[in-house]
């Protein structure tokens, strides 16, 4: 398995969607290939930190516009 082939499988590996024998190949590759180890860790961190992204509050001007819109609709 080349590094490129391993990277193609990373999404399924991370999701736990691969058969055990393929996972064994991947683990063995990662153990002996530090670039792939670094790559896999950074891929995992990317997914993890994106999931922690906070929601921004709506701008005050937008909230006011929406409230005005709702009031207008109610009156109709």
């Amino acid at each position: 398995m080349t590094c490129r082939e391993l990277v193609e499988l990373m999404i399924d590996y991370l999701a736990g969607d691969l058969p055990e024998d393929v996972c064994v190949h991947i683990r063995e590759h990662i153990e002996r290939c530090s670039p792939c180890d670094h790559f896999f860790q950074s891929y995992r961190i990317t997914v993890k930190i994106t999931r922690q992204l906070p929601q921004s509050p709506m701008p005050k001007s937008l909230s006011e516009k929406l409230n005005a819109l709702l009031s207008q609709i109610k009156k109709q």
Partner: protein, 189 residues
């Protein structure tokens, strides 16, 4: 948008929905469209659709799922109307390999995941990297990795097969990883 909510929404009003879900609608639209003004337009459009369609929605599945669909459709329609073209070519994130399929040199990232808490600066970096993603990958990436929508549901929303969703998600993640790498790689490993 977590699907934590309200089944059987018989008493919900548009005001209730927007109080609870407005910021999520706005954030999803902002991340899909890449700018605040378009996100505001789409949020207003979604509100109008909620008002118009709330009666037909009542009793259906989950309100968060429904709002995801309405928001995604409104954002896609808005983008189509805007017809903005991607300014740059899509770089294939799987090009960075040697001829034998092995990695070119790679450096480890400085912070192990357990220690990497999101501060404001990191959040900004990630938001910018998302904004820089080509639309082709951005929609799937935002729905999956920011909003936590299952791949099958994303496929239904965007009219994509499951393999297409996974392929776009994977490439989106690779582009994100590459964009964030200069900020997180160890300087002297």
């Amino acid at each position: 948008m977590e699907t934590n909510g309200h089944n059987g929404n018989n008493h919900l009003t548009p005001e209730d929905i927007f109080r609870e879900y407005g910021p999520r609608v706005y954030n999803l639209a902002r991340r899909m469209l890449g700018n605040d003004a378009d996100a505001e337009d789409v949020t207003q459009e979604v509100l109008l659709q909620v008002v118009r369609k709330l009666d037909t929605f009542r009793g259906e599945a989950n309100i968060a799922t429904w709002l995801h669909r309405v928001t995604v459709n409104a954002a896609l329609a808005h983008r189509k109307k805007r017809a903005r073209r991607e300014e740059h070519e899509v770089h294939d994130p799987l090009q960075n390999y040697l001829n034998d399929g092995h990695h070119a040199n790679l450096r480890p990232w400085a912070a192990p995941p357990e220690e990497l808490a999101l501060n404001q600066e990191t959040s900004k970096l990630i938001e910018k990297a998302i904004n820089d993603l080509p639309e082709l990958y951005r929609d799937v990436y935002v729905l999956s990795d920011v909003e936590g929508v299952p791949n099958q549901e994303i496929g239904d929303m965007l009219g994509l097969s499951l393999p297409a969703v996974k392929s776009r998600l994977h490439r989106g993640r690779l582009l994100m990883r590459n964009a964030l790498a200069p900020h997180f790689e160890e300087v002297n490993p």
